[in-house]
């Protein structure tokens, strides 16, 4: 039975370890804090991790955690305080709302869903910053979301490794 990363698969995933979720989110935070020097097209790793866990584990990861992560990103980036918090809260809400639908699609259509979600959250941040008098940073600002969405299949495969690895392999068992 092949591993499939959507609900059509007959294979049952092992339950996720909360520690693993915490580690992936910490890694995403560190990745976001790497000195990227404003290169356009660098994905927002925290947003990507957030969408992933909101879609996969909507009962564990929610809007409150998204808000907290947003506040940390605001403080670390010295952005307008609350900008990422608002965008991530909305992103988490939309991901949770879409989670039951998204997982019935194969990986690439899932990535299209993710693209729309990430672009919408970026648009929200753009609107807030333009409202407070910042300059428009150019359309390359959205490149990060496109690349993040393109990475979605890879991220899904990598982050599900602990849940797809069985203790002992058995072809006739759905786990």
């Amino acid at each position: 039975m092949s591993v499939q990363f959507d609900n059509r698969s007959q294979r049952i995933l092992r339950p996720v370890k909360p520690g693993f979720i915490a580690v992936t989110i910490l890694v995403a935070l560190v990745l976001n804090m790497l000195p990227w020097r404003n290169i356009a097209g660098i994905p927002d790793w925290v947003a990507l991790a957030l969408v992933f866990w909101c879609v996969r584990e909507p009962r564990r990861i929610g809007i409150g955690l998204a808000w907290l992560l947003g506040i940390v990103m605001d403080a670390a980036n010295s952005a307008l305080f609350g900008q990422h918090a608002l965008a991530y809260s909305a992103l988490a809400f939309a991901s949770i709302a879409l989670s039951r639908r998204m997982l019935w699609f194969p990986l690439w259509p899932q990535a299209v869903h993710v693209l729309v979600l990430l672009l919408a959250s970026q648009l929200l941040m753009l609107a807030v910053r333009l409202f407070t008098g910042a300059a428009f940073p150019g359309f390359l600002y959205f490149a990060g979301s496109v690349i993040a969405a393109a990475l979605w299949p890879l991220v899904t495969i990598v982050l599900l490794i602990p849940q797809t690895l069985p203790d002992s392999m058995d072809e006739n068992r759905p786990i």
């Binding site: 404003n38 403080a75 980036n77 010295s78 307008l80 609350g82 608002l86 809260s89 909305a90 008098g133």
Partner: protein, 305 residues
């Protein structure tokens, strides 16, 4: 009768309720930050929590830089030493003249009983990374309030003004570059002493000289230096060079683009100028208020008569 569901169905408030709550909280924070700047203490605390994460993220970059520096080839180093020696000679000549001039200047000032305007001290800092906020031009340097950096200090490199310290953490501080859209710097044209204010244009590479009359005496290639009348930037630091002027009779102001003199995106090391202004304090507000009504009154009387 107890009608509440058993606890294993209880999942707390509905998602929409949570979104509304956290969304409103975020909007409240944004208003407090943008309008009133009340959120600084909270930001400081969270930045302190995020500091170890940032250090963890910077560690591989530091290692890579150190390795690169270590393996810089011998010929490259020799070439750099030769260049530096040549520059040193040139600068030494200037320095001798400068010392003589400074002594002469000090003596003249004593004669005129004028006070020194500035007492300068500088802190060398390294640019750690550029801020990830694409809406603003900021860099983070490795000196903070524990090194005596305060908000408002000018930051320069070897070619001119880089920006101004806008936020200080214990170990780091943020410098807003002069190319930021909201960063204003008072300047003076070297050629004729014309004063103006330069603003970042928002594209991250150039500055605009705003509110200059269409017939103002500004030419392509003019060097602009800090005028020093704001009490923030010391006088005479190179800021930018005029790159393009558009004079259109349809507009009151000329559109003047400037290219910054300093390598705002290039260098790793900058100087933070910590200075104590020795200028006399500005006159108290009451006096200026007293002057203004008397000036305003005169035309009103005339109009009544």
């Amino acid at each position: 009768m107890d009608t509440t569901p058993p606890p294993f169905f209880n999942r707390g408030p509905a998602p929409l309720v949570r979104l509304t709550f956290f969304g409103l909280l975020a909007v409240l924070l944004m208003v407090l930050d943008a309008r009133f700047q009340y959120t600084e203490p909270l930001r400081q605390v969270i930045a302190l929590v995020a500091y170890p994460l940032q250090q963890a993220a910077l560690a591989p970059v530091r290692v890579a830089r150190a390795t690169f520096d270590y393996f810089t080839s011998k010929s490259a180093l020799e070439r750099e030493i030769d260049e530096l020696r040549a520059r040193h000679l040139q600068v030494a000549k200037d320095l001798v003249t400068l010392e003589a001039l400074a002594a002469e200047n000090a003596q003249l000032r004593r004669l005129m009983e004028a006070r020194e305007k500035w007492q300068r001290k500088s802190t060398l800092a390294e640019i750690l990374y550029a801020g990830r906020d694409p809406f603003a031009r900021r860099v983070v340097i490795d000196k903070g309030s524990s090194h005596g950096v305060r908000p408002g200090l000018a930051v320069i490199d070897e070619l001119g003004v880089v920006g101004q310290v806008t936020r200080v953490h214990p170990m780091l501080s943020e410098v807003t570059l002069i190319t930021d859209k909201n960063q204003a710097i008072p300047v003076q044209v070297v050629r004729n002493g014309l004063r103006a204010v330069a603003f970042g244009s928002g594209d991250g590479e150039t500055l605009d000289l705003r509110f200059m009359a269409a017939n103002a005496d500004v030419q392509n290639g003019d060097l602009l230096v800090t005028s020093g009348i704001d009490g923030t930037y010391p006088q005479g630091l190179p800021v930018a060079r005029v790159a393009r002027i558009e004079r259109d009779a349809a507009y009151v102001f000329a559109k003047i683009s400037l290219v910054p003199a300093a390598g705002t995106d290039r260098y790793r090391h900058v100087l933070v100028l910590s200075q104590d202004s020795l200028l006399p304090p500005p006159p108290p507000e009451a006096e200026t208020d007293k002057d203004r009504p008397s000036k305003m009154k005169r035309p009103r009387v005339r109009r009544d008569a």
